[in-house]
């Protein structure tokens, strides 16, 4: 049984202040009006920002930085045609503890999805070490953040797992639910935490009902249940709408880069001028970019923008769900829509290709 406590807001604020004194706490803060980023905070005030919309980059930047050094190497002797003999030096394994505060359910869902991908087959220690060092204090959304989000349609409005603690705003107090053993322990440390009495339980239930109502029409952003997407896409490969979306798309990669569930990266070596030392780095990559599927010799498996755009949507709603028990790799957070300069909206794309093309009218 997971614990649930009620914590007065001033007590919770003190708790966050003490966390921030001991280590790094990050939360969504407005860099400019309407432009949020996860950044260091010293108290819980970020949780009270009523204008919050999802951050420019998702919290994955703390587990998989936009650019990171995988290892350093030292060359021994002059390079030959068969290469350079190298000694590698693994990067530090222990990561700094970090608390992510105010992570909304869409991003909690996304973190679980990237965890799943990085744990699969090859365990990516760079990601997983940082993940282990992170504490996720999530926060429920009572109202829709903006017109672009369609979380409720993708099933990520409510999360059952993926957080250590989950906050629900009761006005003058937070309802704090533990989701993991780490969360249980943390909950014990919050001063002023009391058990949820009947009145608090009732209030939580009312909020849940109210939330249900507030998000009811968001579900309509998709014309069909999200779980039908793999099958729908399976029949939509030759849909003429892909060409139309591809004509608009600039192939700029922004949708990939801001996506909380995109995890592809490119790997590059940088060598110093003395040719003795170097670094192997990785940085975020995106399947809508021209050279993503280009291989040695110059062959490109997805040469056209429409093919790349289609591939992105197939990854999100067909290929990965088929690999991972039906888990949709789109959370409906709306980041790609906000960043897209030509207004390509996945919900609209899915609805369009779900319709049979042609018909009498065309």
């Amino acid at each position: 049984m997971k614990s649930l406590k009620i914590v007065p807001k001033d007590a919770f604020d003190s708790f966050v202040r003490s966390l921030a004194e001991d280590g790094e706490v990050v939360a969504p803060v407005a860099r400019e009006p309407g432009q949020y980023v996860y950044d260091s905070v010293s108290d819980a005030s970020a949780l009270e920002d009523e204008d919050y919309i999802p951050t420019l980059n998702p919290p994955k930047k703390y587990f998989m930085p936009a650019e990171e050094v995988l290892f350093k190497f030292t060359g021994k002797g002059a390079p030959t045609h068969s290469g350079v003999e190298v000694e590698t030096e693994a990067q530090a394994e222990a990561e700094e503890e970090i608390v992510l505060l105010g992570v909304r359910p869409c991003d909690v869902a996304a973190i679980r999805l990237t965890d799943q991908a990085f744990e699969d087959t090859y365990e990516d220690e760079h990601y997983l070490n940082r993940r282990d060092a992170a504490t996720i204090i999530a926060m429920n959304c009572q109202e829709l953040c903006d017109e672009h989000a369609f979380c409720a349609a993708m099933g990520s409005l409510k999360v059952e797992a993926g957080y250590d603690l989950l906050l629900t705003d009761l006005g003058d107090a937070w309802a704090v639910a533990a989701g993991t053993e780490k969360g249980e322990q943390l909950l014990q440390q919050i001063p002023g935490a009391r058990d949820a009495d009947a009145a608090a339980q009732k209030k939580l239930q009312d909020l849940t009902d109210q939330q249900e109502e507030n998000f009811e029409n968001v579900k309509d952003r998709l014309d069909f249940p999200a779980e039908d997407l793999p099958e729908i896409l399976g029949e939509a490969e030759d849909h003429p709408a892909w060409q139309e979306f591809g004509d608009e798309c600039m192939g700029c990669g922004r949708c990939n880069l801001v996506c909380p569930t995109c995890f592809c990266f490119d790997v590059l070596d940088e060598v110093d001028l003395g040719l003795e030392e170097g670094e192997r780095k990785r940085q975020w990559d995106g399947c809508t970019l021209l050279e993503f599927a280009m291989v040695a010799g110059g062959e490109n498996f997805r040469e056209d923008r429409d093919e790349r755009l289609r591939h992105r949507f197939y990854r999100k709603a067909k290929y990965l769900p088929e690999r991972y028990d039906g888990d949709m790799y789109c959370t409906g957070c709306g980041r790609c829509i906000r960043t897209c300069l030509v207004d390509i909206d996945p919900a609209e794309v899915f609805n369009t290709v779900a319709e049979k093309p042609g018909g009498e009218a065309s």
Binding site: C249, E270, V271, D272, L275
Partner: protein, 252 residues
């Protein structure tokens, strides 16, 4: 044996050579790794032979053509250095006018007697170019990495994705989401500059040239939505790129 390297200059401000000279922390490593035999802005001797040529500047006069051809003949590897050399750069703005008009405007009546001028071209429209270091001016790290790649016998890495990618990596607020009226060419311009202009409150003006498969139609629509007319939008796209072989697509 260290490769013999020459740095040459055609029509340009020579600012890209200056970027190399400005690499104070790396200069000793550079001259340790390569044998610099010609470097117009930094030394007097001019070598007859070299393995690698870095060529700055665009071709704007007939007399430059045989000189460039000779460099191509001698060098095993020819690298275009900076926007003038890679895409013609700002010099190519004159291509919107006839050579006669340009001469008259700049030198008055006497000019045509003393100067020849031809439409500006990037050097790859005159000779084959092996590699490109983009930008106005070039990025110093880019130069260093090109040198090390050549020393290692690797193809130098040149990003072919747009500046938008680097703005997202740095989590910049998009120029189009800021409350100034800047117009940004980032979605169609080659990255590799760490999105330096948008990162410091300015906007991308296109010095690294277009990415392959640039979607000009869509970007022009975006620019028009942000308050400039189509002609102005095309003018912005031409600023560095009138001489770019892909510039016709902007006009289409």
């Amino acid at each position: 044996m260290k490769p013999r390297v020459g740095i040459f200059s055609f029509s340009s401000c020579e600012g890209c050579q200056l970027q190399i000279l400005n690499m104070e922390n790396e200069l000793l490593d550079i001259v340790g790794a390569i044998d610099l035999v010609t470097f117009r802005e930094a030394m007097d001797p001019v070598a007859r032979d070299y393995d690698v040529a870095f060529v700055e500047g665009s071709i704007t006069r007939e007399s430059e053509i045989p000189m460039l051809e000779e460099i191509r003949r001698k060098a095993d590897v020819l690298v275009a250095l900076g926007a003038c050399a890679t895409i013609g750069g700002v010099n190519a703005m004159k291509n919107k006018f006839s050579p006669e008009e340009n001469l008259q405007e700049v030198y008055g009546d006497a000019g045509s007697e003393y100067y020849d001028t031809i439409p500006t071209r990037g050097i790859d429209e005159v000779v084959d170019v092996d590699y490109y270091i983009h930008g106005c001016p070039i990025d110093r790290t880019d130069f260093a990495q090109t040198v090390t790649s050549l020393l290692l016998g690797k193809r130098p890495y040149t990003p072919n994705f747009p500046v938008c990618v680097e703005c997202r990596l740095k989590e910049n607020v998009c120029v189009y989401d800021r409350d100034d009226d800047e117009i940004c060419l980032g979605p169609v311009i080659r990255a590799g500059c760490s999105a330096v202009c948008p990162s410091f409150g300015s906007a991308c003006i296109g010095c690294r040239g277009y990415v392959d498969q640039a979607n000009f139609d869509s970007l022009i629509k975006v620019m028009v939505e942000h308050g400039i007319d189509e002609e102005e939008a095309k003018k912005k796209l031409r600023m560095f790129n009138t001489g770019n072989a892909k510039a016709q697509e902007v006009e289409a």
